[in-house]
Amino acid sequence: MTMIEVVDLHKSFNNHEVLRGISLKVEKGQILALIGGSGNGKSVLLKHIIGLAKADRGNVLIDNQDINKLKGMSLKRLKERLGIVFQGGALFDSLTVFDNVAFPLREKTKMKYSQIHEIVMQELASVGLSGSENKYPAEISGGMKKRVALARCLVMKPEIILFDEPTTGLDPLIGKAIHKLIRSCQQRLNLTAIIVTHEIPAIFSVVDRVAMLYNGKIIAEGTPKDMEESSDPVIHQFIHGELSGPISTQ
């Protein structure tokens, strides 16, 4: 069953075409890694999928519903099925870790404090952050911020989570721990996920499929093994991090 379908998506900023007809499918319960050079529009694509940006042309279908055509309550209901972990975490810096995770529950449900407390503590424990609930985002490390952002996302039990570079700037061990955490959450909740990442090949052990974005288009999609064995010079150069090849490093 297709959970996310992007059809011929186009987007320009100031006459610069960033997305030039993206088409992509993600099946339910699958994790897809979206790879590609910096500035190729991966984060822009995520913002379209979650409904934070409007496409110039094309459609984004979430469980067969076009997110760009929905309004009011139906858009709200659809958005409630989605979650996103932003690159910097996007935590509310004036709130503690506990309040950050509790924020969507307080604002969107009528749960009592005791229930919220229990869910938040449970979710913080599941991401390995027990004992950090009274700290402010400025007092915790980058890896912890990403875990808090994930916990904030998970409390609302979304069906789809989008990760924007969840391990960028973290050391390899914490990066690996975050990857493992994403996998375990996916298995626990049968999530569908898209991970925008540059962590190659580390991400290949976590995801089911990989899509590569180049020059505003998806140039290849397949299993991690397919990508690793690809003879396409662009994919080969990118995955193996070679300086010479069709991708300009200037």
Binding site: K47, I50, G51, L52, L75, K76, R77, K79, E80, L82, G83, I84, F86, Q87, G88, A90, L91, F92, D93, F103, P104, E107, K108, M156
Partner: protein
């Protein structure tokens, strides 16, 4: 491009940008007012913002209000003496504060203390994707960030204005009665005779409208702040300058409406 057309192009682009900005601000206010009417009503956030915009500005208002009244009494007293009208010190000080100086100086103080901070706070939330995070949670950022500030501005400004005027009148009393030869009865008796409810209402209308203007401009500039620290700093400067100018311009227009 033909140099003959260059001035037209520059003027045209400036005018287009100005109209677009004005339209954007108008739409921003309209959307915010729309969401102000519909539930959920975030009372706790409104109270928090009243504390931020109103309560935390009280000390500034106490100082500026009392010293404005004192200097006003000092200046006006010597002018009135020349005309033998020093008994009118009380009503002149009170009317100046109630109708003009109170609302305007109070609004300028709130702009400097709270308006700039609001723009910076919302601007930082914009560049660190916190506003996107609210949106992604299927919550309405206008409802969470703009509406509570607008309401807090509407509630706080008249109250701060009242503080300002009362302290200003007492400041004038200290100078007029304490240092000059005006008697206490003449000072307050004159105020009682010459200040009526219409004057107080005029000040109230002004401070209400200034409350909307300050929070509207501050939130708008923060909400659409540019990228990085420079974007936020630029937005904050623009917010303070624009709010201050608009307060003075709007003051003229609202006064001409109210006096007619």
């Amino acid at each position: 491009m033909n140099p003959v057309f260059a001035p037209f192009k520059i003027t045209g682009s400036f005018v287009t940008k100005f109209i677009r900005e004005l339209g954007g601000m108008g739409c921003f206010l309209a959307v915010s007012l729309f969401w102000m009417v519909f539930p959920p009503y975030l009372i706790r956030r409104v109270v928090k913002q009243i504390n931020f915009i109103g309560v935390k500005t009280v000390l500034v208002i106490v100082l500026t209000g009392s010293f404005t009244g004192m200097v006003l009494a000092l200046q006006i007293y010597y002018v009135l003496v020349k005309f033998g009208a020093d008994a009118s010190l009380g009503p002149v000080v009170a009317l100046s504060l109630i109708k003009e100086l109170g609302p305007v100086i109070c609004a300028l103080m709130v702009t400097g203390r709270a308006g700039s901070a609001l723009t910076a706070e919302i601007g930082i939330m914009r560049i660190t994707e916190q506003i996107d995070a609210i949106d992604a949670m299927a919550l309405n950022p206008y409802k969470y960030l703009v509406v509570p500030n607008l309401l807090a501005g509407i509630i706080s400004l008249p109250v701060l204005n009242a503080f300002f005027v009362v302290l200003g009148v007492f400041g004038g009393y200290l100078v007029g009665v304490g240092l000059m030869d005006v008697s206490s009865g003449t000072y307050f008796g004159g105020i009682k005779d010459f200040v009526d409810a219409q004057d107080v209402l005029e000040g109230l209308y002004k401070s209400l409208s200034f409350g909307v203007l300050i929070t509207w401009i501050s939130c708008y500039k923060g909400y659409f702040a540019g990228y990085g620290a420079e974007g936020v700093s630029k937005a904050t400067t623009q917010s303070v300058v624009l709010s201050s100018v608009v307060i003075l311009v709007w003051d003229y227009f609202i006064t001409s409406i109210l006096v007619s």
